[in-house]
Point group: C2
Chain length 153, copies 2
């Protein structure tokens, strides 16, 4: 009997966590929303389990992140996002305008993929690289909103 390790139940078992409906639902939600906030996850989970509270989503995310099943991203002053993609060393592209997040593969390698010239005595664990920019849809919204294309030439 093969165990489907991509199944939420098995992921939880494997991590030594109790299998509960809210936890499975949060994991499933993250499969469809790869960089979702607690709020967005809550909304998604509510589609199938309408009684799960936002507090529970926070609890679940804390537990999942604590045992390494998920990872939290905290970009600038945007609310925290969560992702299932863990273990590989990848980075993020964040839109300065709408906060949309996209994964970018690490050019260098595994963590810490970069090291400073002088570590000032710190014991380094990770190098986090965040690329800031304007996503495609914000580019067009900004363009139409203010200037209807400069007419140089």
């Amino acid at each position: 009997m093969l165990m489907n390790l991509s199944d939420a139940t098995d992921l939880l078992r494997g991590a030594g966590l109790r299998v509960t409906e809210p936890r499975r639902a949060v994991i499933e939600a993250l499969r469809g929303l790869p960089h979702a906030s607690a709020d967005a996850i809550h909304a998604k989970v509510a589609q199938t389990l309408p009684d799960v509270s936002l507090q529970t989503v926070y609890n679940v995310l804390r537990d999942l992140t604590g045992c390494g099943l998920t990872r939290s991203i905290e970009p600038g002053d945007h609310p925290a996002r969560y992702e299932l993609r863990v273990g590989d060393n990848h980075h993020h592209l964040v839109c300065t305008r709408c906060g949309a997040i996209t994964d970018v593969d690490c050019v260098i390698g595994h963590a810490p993929c970069l090291t400073p010239n002088d570590d000032h005595g710190f014991v380094l664990s990770e190098a986090e690289v965040t690329f800031w920019g304007l996503c495609t849809s914000c580019q067009s919204e900004v363009a139409t909103a203010s200037d209807p294309v400069p007419v140089t030439t």
Copy 2:
């Protein structure tokens, strides 16, 4: 008559901002506390100007950052820090335990010092690199707190 451009007054004038006591005091505070939170800046400013409110410190930091005299750093779930060092492309070393911040010079060059393989259509403005680790004092505190040095020889 040489203008001392490192003087807070001249910095403000040069940026087209009105020169006020709170603004000068915030800039001076940041000279002594190169990665201070709004709270820490407020405490420092209060030593000379006890009536300046925390709200004013937030206002001043918003204005200074808005015109490029300061820059804000928002590491993970720590409160925002502010720094006077702007213009050069440097990065930060943040202690995962106490939140202490140290500057590290950029190994690569000016912004965006790195570029992803695939920019997903984003118009990139900056690559922010944050090194996470344990600072020296947290290392010793952690050591003394739990295990008094493993005696493996």
